[in-house]
Symmetry: C2
């Protein structure tokens, strides 16, 4: 098997489009190879099987997401600024990987455990974001919110906007297609999370 090289990269791109549009079962090897301008045997030659090609698509996509979140978290500064950077990184990832939401939806709709290829990257995301929350808590900027649940608050809203954007726009009668709409939602997620997580300088307001 040879995952590198131009043909393998074209197969990954073609497969990403087709797995997003049709789901794993309905995306045929024939359609994937045709989309990659490769011969029918290319999936077996480069990846061994359709499932391994799917794993390569998932691995590449979620590795990119995890790399971008890690890079955003790596920026020094107060927790509030780093949280804004994490949310922006999620929105930038979905802007650059328009197939990601539907690949995630198909995988979730199938049920069962998440693809093995995604798990290390999802775990890395949790580690990255909980560390930002813990740093903010250690610095006295953030209150003692559960770092795992704080991570859930940031990721869930960012992902749900990516996956349900069109349905939300239909229901709201409000166009949400463009980059300015996404930027406004990202700012809102950050703003509410920062206010929701921050330590209160005057003590607990409740």
């Amino acid at each position: 098997m040879n995952h590198s090289g131009a043909t393998a990269a074209r197969l990954v791109r073609s497969a990403r489009r087709l797995f997003a549009a049709r789901g794993y079962d309905q995306a045929s090897v024939r359609a994937i190879t045709r989309g990659a301008r490769a011969n029918l045997g290319a999936v077996t030659y480069h990846f061994g099987s359709k499932w391994n090609l799917y794993a390569a698509v998932v691995d590449q996509m979620f590795a990119t997401m995890a790399d971008r979140l890690a890079a955003a978290a790596d920026t020094p500064g107060p927790a509030t600024v780093r949280i804004a950077g994490l949310v922006q990184a999620m929105f930038a990832f979905f802007a650059d990987y328009p197939e990601a939401p539907r690949i995630m939806l198909h995988a979730l709709a199938r049920g069962g455990p998440p693809p093995e290829a995604a798990l290390p990257h999802l775990r890395r995301n949790l580690t990255t974001i909980t560390a930002v929350i813990r740093d903010g808590q250690a610095a006295g900027e953030l209150r003692a919110v559960d770092p795992f649940l704080a991570t859930f608050t940031l990721l869930s809203q960012s992902i749900w906007f990516a996956v349900a954007r069109r349905v939300i726009a239909s229901a709201a009668g409000r166009p949400l297609d463009g980059a300015p709409a996404a930027a406004a939602v990202a700012r809102h997620i950050t703003d509410v999370a920062v206010r929701g997580f921050r330590a209160d300088p005057q003590g607990d307001l409740r």
Copy 2:
């Protein structure tokens, strides 16, 4: 067509299970009627078509969600208490309709516009929740957050927990199956939203 009666109700229940497990295309009329202990012609007799049966499933499910949110919003009290009630209503809905997350995932993964049958209920949810936010703003309890985005914050987290619960548990290595885990997440969503939305008695802390 006759949507009422015991057979029609059994067809809706059987279809809900099969549309959730397999998606619209892969759920056969044969399997649906078998699951409802009805004859093969029962879907046509009671609903006219498989698509109309799907519409009936979606309509019944989302009408229930909208009714429960409206009932939660109808409770008098401060906005913070009503927000807690809205989040609890979402979690209670998903506990009672375990098929709802996968039906939503299949519909989203298919792409295209949301099912027509869902739209009036989704619009009603927006109206219900934005009214609670506006009431809280009029009473001076909540700051001038965009009511639509505030609604997004509450719904997106509640829905994402329902649809991705197992994947999140796998990634986090933390069981999230039971009612106590769901209750903790619901409390967290409420807590962060209330802190994120409320008017600051000492003026803007930022």
